[in-house]
Amino acid sequence: MASPTINFRDTVILIADSSSYLSMIVHSILRGFGATKILEVRDSITVLQVLNSQKFDVLLFDARLPPYGGLKLTQAIRRKADNENRMMPILLMSSDTRETAIRRARDAGANMVIAKPISPASLYDRLAWVALTPRQFIDAPTYFGPDRRFKIEGYPNGVGRRKGDKIVEVANESGPALAQGDIDNLFSAARMGKD
């Protein structure tokens, strides 16, 4: 990825993590990027409450956010038709980086997974990817969220989800943890306007 420049000024960001210290670290990193409008919450119930009263530009959740977990929370946000935050970028922070976990996050409607422990570079580059990479949205009976059809290195046919697409099993339940680069491959949009 070439060095992008992202303007974070006036971007309203919600951080949701039960760890006050980790949340503070992420908050600090975002302030270093130039973001000034940042809200922290500790649980998914509060997330749903604040989403009802405020509009956000980026949502950053812990994948294990209590009590429901970040995946269920992501699904809830994506599936609520009258929620104006429904199409907001959602980035899940997770220390479970097995391929199956990444696929679950993607299938829940997350735009990106950021591997914990988080570094400024990993966060900046994933936010830049979300900001600068056009990605279509899918509204289907069983899914609402960013297009999940991805090209995975070594899987030339991609991961199919709809009629005519090939289903490719790419993960075992107990596979090895993925590096951030492999996670990114799972989230690399395939189509970009062409097959």
Binding site: S3, P4, T5, I6, N7, F8, R9, D10, T11, S18, S19, S20, Y21, L22, M24, I25, S28, I29, L30, R31, G32, F33, G34, D57, V58, R64, M87, M88, P89, S95, K116, P117, I118, S119, P120, A121, L123, Y124, L127, A128, V130, A131, L132, P134, R135, Q136, F137, I138, D139, A140, P141, T142, D147, G160, R161, R162, K163, G164, D165, I167
Partner: protein, 164 residues
């Protein structure tokens, strides 16, 4: 599950974040990363207090599990503290802490899944965490303490082998 094309609506989305991010006047990546690191450094003084709180709470959970007839949920409760230590350590230059907490967390995962609880292995990890807490071990990488790491790996492997 395949869906028919008729069921699916595909549409482009341009979020406010994308619009804001592309405005001129953003901070170049290198400068943004340097500023972020500086902000992390400002937050580091609070780390010791937080670390002590987490470790004390973890020790309390383990001690109660050892001395009282607690249910199996203690391992998950202890794991919550381990995961937090693991997730923060490397970001604040405590890579060794992250390594030990990860090993401990994997062991507690195995116990939650039904593996036999080996208190000696648990005590090894607690001792290692208490060692890594010391200021003299800040900035120490796992490869710099090979004996400690191989010992932890050995006891953790025994737990995972015993998993049903």
């Amino acid at each position: 599950m395949a869906e028919t094309d008729d069921d699916v609506r595909i549409f482009p989305v341009e979020t406010r974040f994308q619009q804001l991010a592309r405005r001129p006047g953003g901070i170049p990546r290198d400068k943004a990363l340097a500023q972020a690191q500086s902000k992390i450094d400002e937050a580091k003084p609070a780390f010791d207090g937080w670390l002590n709180e987490q470790l004390d709470a973890l020790l309390d959970v383990v001690k109660r599990a050892q001395t009282e007839n607690t249910d199996a949920e203690w391992a998950e409760a202890a794991n919550r503290y381990c995961r937090q230590l693991r997730d923060v350590g490397t970001t604040v230059d405590c890579e060794l802490l992250t390594f030990i907490a990860r090993s401990f967390s994997e062991m507690l995962d195995a116990i939650t899944m039904g593996a036999e609880c080996d208190w000696e292995a648990i005590q090894c990890h607690i001792d290692a965490l208490l060692l890594a807490r010391q200021k003299s071990y800040r900035g120490v990488k796992p490869e710099q303490v090979p004996d400690l790491i191989s010992g932890l790996r050995r006891v953790a492997e025994q737990i995972s082998i015993s998993q049903p």
